[in-house]
Symmetry: C2
DNA sequence: AATTAAATTTAGACAAATCTAAAAATAGAT
DNA sequence: ATCTATTTTTAGATTTGTCTAAATTTAATT
């Protein structure tokens, strides 16, 4: 009975709004027993701090967050598990949209924001299978497993790479539409091999060699690209 | 401007509840300029008549239904178009669930009820393409086209077939889980060839030949199966 | 330690979608 | 044609999620 109740409570009785709050809190670091402030959540969600306070109380009553007045919230184990299941759904849907429906990686976020709230365990398991159990979404972000395990990534930012070192582009830190479009325009894609040729002290820009061609990229770009030494 | 506004209004500003009302009214025949009563809608949606009245006013203000107090509602052209787009989405998602995710046809309804409310024109167009532009859903119901054309079906109920006539099973009238499970258990599937061998006057049951085997089926079953003379 | 600035919470209001209970309109039967 | 039973609507309340404005707490500075 307890098992079924947990399932019902978390998977069926969660509102869309509650799920969005949990996801945001997780992305702000609330899964690491760090307290996230009301203001930070409000800013991220483009809502008012007073609304966040209301929701913090509700989520606290449901045992999904620890909430201390004037201090902020952090996720409980139950809250982390729920947040991960939403993130899992979001990222699996993103893979589906790109792999099966030919969406570009800058078009998937908005639709995945809707699809992540669909309630059906079977649906997401079968989708996972259809996609051949992908480990990463189109932006290189890891997809949590069914039992809430998070694939930690072993990678660094391109801006932190040493001169003459080589790596493979595996993810983006900023997955905003403008940035993704910029990468497309400049033929920078995940999977590309990158070698750091030189760094410019003046503006921290990099001269890199990518797939044969040499190019210069700004620090702002380099600090939003994840690179890994070895292939996955 | 007018075109864009219509799009925004109907595709983005429609609430889930409004969409469900429109769909229900359509299924009750409200698209044929027939007035559907408050009570009928309330019963179908398992809600109270007073709630239906409230929504009737709201939909009327939005120009989606014609509403006359104490008389009932019927769909306007705009309402029909919107209802058809929701039904289109529902049925395409059902095909996806069965064809791509190996759902059984008795499992798809509940999930499709959620998926039909996802807002993205590109998503549904691409899904249609992925599925190779199906004309019928897993229960044999026709899928409206993108521009709201409804594929009318040319078929009759098995119970209305003449003795010795032959046809192909193309759809179910009752798509409830128990009925679909019954059909599965008795190996009755869409696409099967059926020949009516004999009819029993006493209880209206039929003796049929299906895919070689002979069997007897009740009137209740026969009056919930659609059959067509020629292949599609 | 007192004061001020910033963050946070409370209190009260609102819109959406629902409900209950009472009032009004319709339709059916005598 | 009137009465009655049913249907439908209205009025007012409830829940969820949000907001504004005022009050409170915390943190920073002197």
């Amino acid at each position: 009975m307890s098992n079924k109740n947990v399932f019902l409570k978390k998977d069926f009785l969660m509102t869309r709004s509650e799920e969005n709050y949990l996801k945001t809190i997780f992305h702000l670091g609330g899964g690491d027993s760090k307290s996230i402030t009301t203001n930070a959540i409000a800013e991220q969600m483009e809502t008012k701090p007073s609304s966040v306070t209301d929701m913090a109380k509700k989520l606290s009553e449901k045992g999904l967050v620890d909430y201390v007045r004037y201090q902020g919230v952090s996720l409980t184990d139950s809250g982390i598990k729920t947040a991960l299941s939403i993130i899992r759904k979001h990222r699996l849907w993103e893979v589906f949209l790109v792999e099966k429906l030919d969406f570009n990686w800058d078009e998937v976020h908005e639709v995945a924001e809707q699809l992540e709230h669909i309630k059906s365990e079977k649906l997401i398991d079968k989708l996972d299978e259809l996609l051949d159990f992908p480990k990463y979404d189109p932006h290189g972000d890891p997809i949590p497993t069914k039992d809430g395990k998070f694939q930690e990534r072993d990678e660094k930012l391109l801006s932190e790479m040493a001169i003459n070192s080589t790596g493979i582009c595996v993810g983006v830190k900023d997955s905003s539409v403008p940035f993704l479009k910029f990468l497309d325009k400049n033929k920078i894609a995940l999977g590309n091999t990158i070698k750091v040729m030189d760094k410019e002290d003046f503006d921290n820009s990099l001269r890199i060699q990518m797939e044969g061609k040499e190019m210069r990229i700004s620090y702002q770009i380099a600090s939003n690209l994840y690179v890994k030494k070895n292939d996955r």
